[in-house]
């Protein structure tokens, strides 16, 4: 309260000061140094701007972590498939065989924990489009557009700030999952690093998708509707919660064209050594292609759509 009043007072002081003073102008006529206006300039500045807003507001980070923790803690612990099977009288070896055959791993919690990484990516990426809408609303987009920064750079900065958030949130979720009892037997530095490579690519593709949808929009309500429209099918028509095998045939086709499934498959193979439904190379290829194609589309569309 006191600080707010102080700020208002100092604002008034600054205004009064303006009226009386005539400050000497130390500006020079010397030409500015050679500016670097290459295709990538401004990328880090714009990315950093958004990331700074994010880490200066830890409450936002905290809230965004609640949802995956609830999924893992409540859903993951309650749906203990191994116990279900064991209760029917199956011996531990049979139970493990069934689990391995269905989930590719013996621990459903570990299976779900990996799927939660894509949850985090999806919900974080969805808000990259929202950030474009708010930049338009608050006028910052116009400022960026009036500078020599490339249009594609503006798009990619929005993508990378969202990727940065995704990667950090995914690591926190993974850490919490370990605390909650995720199987760490298969963990290796290389495996985790590669899994985060997949997280990076998936976040790039999804953020590019949402940024693309927001390029022309200044309406945040439409964005909210779009997020709900896309995120739920992308999550539930994937192998994030349950394996493809348990789904009806028609849904299996949908899951197989959903890039989120490939990311999950790759992450499970790399982090918990699960038996994948596709080879790691295929998974990685799909995710890489998804990231490259959508980023390219975002950049190309920005040339057309960012100016009126």
């Amino acid at each position: 309260m006191t600080t707010a009043t102080d700020e208002i007072e100092s604002a008034t002081v600054a205004e009064t000061h303006l009226k009386s003073s005539s400050v000497a102008v130390p500006l020079t006529l010397e030409p500015p140094p050679k500016a670097n206006t290459g295709p990538l300039h401004g990328l880090w500045a714009l990315t950093q701007r958004d990331l700074r807003k994010w880490y200066s507001n830890p409450i936002q980070l905290f809230i965004s972590l609640i949802q995956p923790v609830i999924w893992m803690g409540v859903f993951g612990k309650a749906l203990n498939f191994g116990t279900f099977i064991a209760q029917s009288g199956a011996s531990p070896s049979v139970t493990n065989a069934i689990m391995l055959n269905t989930f590719g791993t013996t621990s459903y919690f570990s299976y779900l924990a990996c799927g939660q990484l894509s949850f985090v990516i999806l919900f974080t990426s969805a808000f990259s489009g929202m950030s474009v809408v708010f930049d338009r609303r608050f006028g910052f987009m116009n400022k960026a557009l009036s500078t020599p920064v490339g249009r594609g750079t503006i798009v990619m900065a929005k993508v990378f700030q969202s990727v940065g958030r995704s990667v950090i949130q995914a690591s926190i979720v993974l850490f919490i999952a370990v605390l909650l009892g995720m199987d760490t037997g298969y963990f290796s530095v290389l495996g985790i690093a590669e899994a985060f490579g997949v997280v990076f690519l998936m976040a790039t593709g999804l953020s590019a998708l949402y940024v693309m949808l927001a390029l022309r929009s200044s309406d945040w309500q439409t964005q909210m509707a779009l997020i709900n429209l896309l995120n739920l099918p992308l999550i539930f028509a994937s192998n994030a919660l349950l394996p493809v095998k348990l789904m009806p045939t028609w849904l299996q086709y949908v899951v197989q064209v959903n890039p989120v499934s490939y990311a999950n498959d790759a992450i499970r193979q790399l982090v918990i050594g699960a038996v994948g439904s596709s080879s790691l190379a295929v998974d990685a290829g799909v995710v890489l292609a998804f990231a490259v194609v959508l980023s390219t589309m975002g950049i190309v569309l920005s040339w057309r759509l960012l100016s009126k």
């Binding site: 500016a35 300039h41 701007r49 400022k143």
Partner: protein, 344 residues
């Protein structure tokens, strides 16, 4: 870039902006309808017009924020369509809306702008401080923009627009909604930029006194078309004549015909004891009128000389008030008469 510039210099053309039949349509609406003009190096050029006349749309096209529907425009020697990035590199823009990031400090905002222009930090830090000094925001530099007043934000926008030392600065309604002090300050900066840094300025406004006091040349724009281009004094002169009001103690006899005989006088109207005279060069006409009145044995009780203002030129050219309220034409007219009488 340099080839293009040297070509222009070789041509001897001093125009920093040249616009040919530039148009922009939004569906059926023709926001800008074939405007053509040139801006000379070092001048302050103003776009004057009512709201929705097409001022901002023109600026947006010249700053490459919008694509023209048709026509051609070169800014600093670069085509706005095919060399948009070069245009943006060379000009500064102070948009109508606030564009600074509210969550960052004033200083951070300017540095971010500098980064977007690709300027090295070693240069931009010093430049940012100098600019904050210029717009008198030094004390508030480390505060978040959220806490700034409207006037402070406007000044910050100005500082951001100057970060790349532009040859040409676009100011879209730079004093809209500002208090008198801040407006005066903004005017002061604009004059500084012109006089000390020989910068070319393109500003839009719908404040007549602003256009009058700042601009070397004004284009009056309405319904997307340029109605007239000229210096403020040329525009005023186009209205035709000064207005002299002479009060005479005796209401009879009516000496209107005799006054009308004076060479400089164009029109005389008697109104009670007052004569309302339209004349060229009012300073010279007034003493002659006074002499005439006295020579008839009458007594002058008052005399007032009114120079035409840009308001009158503007209203005569755009005529919007009358056009929009056709039914109320007589009321508007009598109000104008009342107002000008009140002034004289």
């Amino acid at each position: 870039m340099s080839a293009e510039q040297s070509r222009r210099e070789a041509n001897g053309s001093g125009a920093i902006v040249s616009v040919e039949r530039l148009s922009k349509s939004f569906g059926q609406l023709k926001a800008v309808d074939g405007v053509s003009f040139e801006i000379e190096q070092g001048e302050v050029f103003g776009f004057l017009g009512p709201n929705g006349a097409g001022k901002s749309t023109t600026i947006n096209m010249l700053t490459t924020m919008m694509r023209p529907t048709s026509g051609k425009a070169t800014v600093c020697g670069f085509d706005v369509l095919s060399q948009a990035t070069d245009v943006r590199r060379n000009v500064g823009v102070v948009p109508q809306d606030y564009t600074a990031d509210e969550d960052m400090t004033g200083y951070q905002n300017i540095l971010l702008c500098a980064d977007l222009y690709g300027l090295p930090r070693s240069y931009s830090k010093a430049r940012a401080e100098a600019l904050l000094n210029l717009v008198e925001l030094k004390d508030a530099a480390q505060r978040k923009v959220r806490t700034y007043s409207g006037g402070m934000r406007r000044r910050l926008e100005l500082a951001c627009g100057l970060i790349n030392q532009p040859k040409l600065l676009f100011l879209d309604e730079p004093t809209l909604g500002l208090d008198v002090q801040t407006r005066a300050a903004v005017w002061k900066y604009i004059r500084t930029l012109k006089e000390q840094f020989k910068m070319t300025l393109f500003l839009t406004t719908h404040y007549l006194e602003e256009a009058d006091s700042l601009c070397d040349r004004i284009a009056i724009i309405d319904h997307g078309r340029i109605i007239k281009i000229g210096s403020p004094s040329e525009l005023k002169a186009s209205v035709g004549g000064d207005i002299i009001v002479v009060g005479v103690s005796e209401s009879e006899p009516d000496i209107s015909p005799e006054i009308a005989q004076i060479k400089l006088v164009k029109e005389v109207k008697k109104n009670g004891n007052d004569y309302r005279i339209k004349a060229e060069m009012g300073e010279e006409a007034s003493p002659q009128i006074m002499d005439l009145v006295r020579s008839k044995g009458l007594h002058v009780t008052k005399i007032a000389l009114t120079k035409p203002t840009l308001d009158e030129a503007y209203l005569e050219l755009t005529g919007r008030n009358i056009r929009e309220e056709e039914t109320n034409r007589m009321a508007m007219f009598s109000q104008r008469v009342t107002m000008s009488r009140a002034r004289s």
